[in-house]
């Protein structure tokens, strides 16, 4: 659309499954008649002949020849609507029209404002009680969220975060954690077709102050604070960023169970290592939450046993090379690693960085390495540029140390570990104390 504003007629080509989203995005940008043409989904993995057939075929949305759409999109007269665009204000009332509890529950569900589990209706009284959990004014702007790159940012206030916290069933004392998550700019409900979710890790004194569980079942539905804080992050993400409605504002093809709730604290008391947030500039006495995008892959195991190095090499090689790992382990596992000489998280991270490898031909055959990293390699950005020149069987390191994170949690009933996809954003560790 920037090119249109610069006076260059353009047409954007999408695959047909994005038709509704493409139209909605054009409208939100004030240019609802942006010219668009569509080819069938997918383009990935199609041969040159297949794609040529798309070009010579019919636009599956307009049902007209694809190239006719393209040529007419760039030439020919403009309508009055083309010349003025569409301006509108989407200001809404703070409160919905009064209705019965039953009807309001239906309204929330029908509008995709819930996660399809029962919610607590955000009455004025409940929201006022929730707001007592922070010293910040209700109208203070917390931040902005959007469901994907190149989509519009929506603004969120303390009050709107509190409304969604009520819906999730959270208690007022959890609100500083939820506000910190909301302020991060990291959505828990990306619209990505790849269906990644949000994972939150809480560190510092607030874990115990609000009764979070870092013991048995820390990552399961066994603690009110763990469950409802993670749920609140998801609900506020979908509602405060402009929606998370399938085929409109959510396009994840498989979806993700972690999108219900995936937030847990580190078991700092039982861990032999420094807590996660100290890696990102916080003191142990600070309370902070670290937010990860991921949850597409999960691997699990026990140990470390005698052959742990071989197993870890296999497990990491099975991870996607574009999506960095979050290694979560029980305190038993962490202590066993210290016995093997890994007396800090950094030492184990360095081992993973060195030994998580893939042959170059497999590394570069990954769809997202092709899409996101190959352009960097072609532009000369290291280490990708050097890696692109590697022989097909040469082993390439999959992750940089700063992309790998380790968290200790769990109740010491088993020496269990899991590896989740967990990519931390650059601003992904946020002060909770700032939102008390």
């Amino acid at each position: 659309m920037s090119l249109e504003e610069a006076g260059i007629p353009t047409i954007a080509v999408h695959t047909h499954v994005f038709a509704r989203l493409a139209k909605a995005t054009s409208l939100a940008n004030g240019m609802p008649t942006t010219r668009q043409a569509f080819v069938p989904q997918p383009v990935v993995d199609r041969s040159a002949a297949d794609l040529r057939a798309y070009i010579e075929g019919v636009d599956p949305v307009s049902k007209r020849p694809f190239m006719q759409e393209v040529i007419e999109g760039l030439s020919g007269p403009l309508s009055n609507e083309d010349l003025k665009g569409t301006s509108f204000d989407r200001t809404r009332q703070k409160l919905l029209e009064p209705d019965s509890e039953e009807n309001l529950h239906k309204l929330f569900q029908d509008n995709f404002w819930t996660d399809n589990l029962p919610i607590v209706l955000p009455t004025e009284e409940r929201v006022a009680a929730m707001l007592k959990g922070t010293s910040h004014a209700p109208d203070k702007v917390v931040g902005r969220l959007r469901p994907a790159e190149f989509r519009e940012f929506w603004e969120l206030t303390v009050e709107k975060v509190a409304v969604n916290a009520v819906m999730a069933g959270a208690r007022p004392e959890y609100l500083p954690v939820i506000l910190a998550m909301a302020s991060s700019g990291t959505t828990a409900r990306s619209s990505s077709t790849t269906s990644f979710a949000g994972i939150g890790v809480v560190n510092g004194p607030i874990r115990n102050e609000i009764g979070m569980n870092a013991g048995i079942g820390a990552m399961g539905p066994f603690n009110h604070a763990n469950s409802t804080i993670g749920r609140a992050w998801n609900l506020l993400s979908q509602n405060l960023q402009g929606g998370s409605t399938p085929n409109e504002s959510y396009m994840g093809t498989l979806g993700n169970w972690y999108s219900y709730s995936a937030t847990f604290p580190e078991n700092e008391e039982k861990s032999p290592w420094e807590p996660l947030h100290t890696r990102y500039g916080f003191k142990k006495t600070d309370s902070a939450v670290t937010l990860f995008r991921g949850g597409r892959y999960t691997q699990a195991g026990f140990g470390p046993r005698a052959t742990w190095k071989e197993k870890f090499k296999r497990v990491f090689a099975a991870c996607s090379p574009r999506q960095s790992p979050l290694l979560v382990m029980d305190p038993i596992v962490a202590r066993l690693f210290t016995g093997l000489g890994f007396d800090s998280k950094e030492k184990l991270i360095a081992w993973i960085e060195e030994n998580a490898t893939l042959p170059a031909r497999e590394y570069w055959d990954d769809q997202w390495v092709q899409t996101l990293l190959k352009p960097l390699a072609v532009s000369g950005v290291e280490p990708y540029a050097t890696n692109l020149k590697a022989a097909p069987d040469a082993l390439l390191q999959m992750f940089r140390a700063e992309e790998i994170n380790i968290v200790v949690t769990g109740g010491e009933t088993q020496g269990a570990w899991k590896i989740y996809e967990g990519a931390r954003n650059n601003n992904g560790t946020v002060s909770i104390d700032a939102w008390r």
Partner: protein
Amino acid sequence: MAEKIKVHDPRGYPPKVTGKRLAPRLETLEGKNVFLVDCLFDNSEVFMNELRDWFGKHFPTVKTPIIKPRQSWVDDPEMRARVAADGDAAILGVGL
């Protein structure tokens, strides 16, 4: 009749939308420079190559240089400036 209650709207604050006009369209593509902007999605390069070949066969006077941003999903002002300076039109694809 069930009691009516008042609840908050859970949705956030969308920005105000300001209408923008489309650029004037060309009278014809003949002899024009139409940039094919490869958005770097997997296999979009193959699509753009086929599109360029299609123009070569059906509109041989149309120049169709393929151009790419430096990174996926990151605005590239230099690339946009080049298209605006040297192009008559642009086809972007394929993907969102």
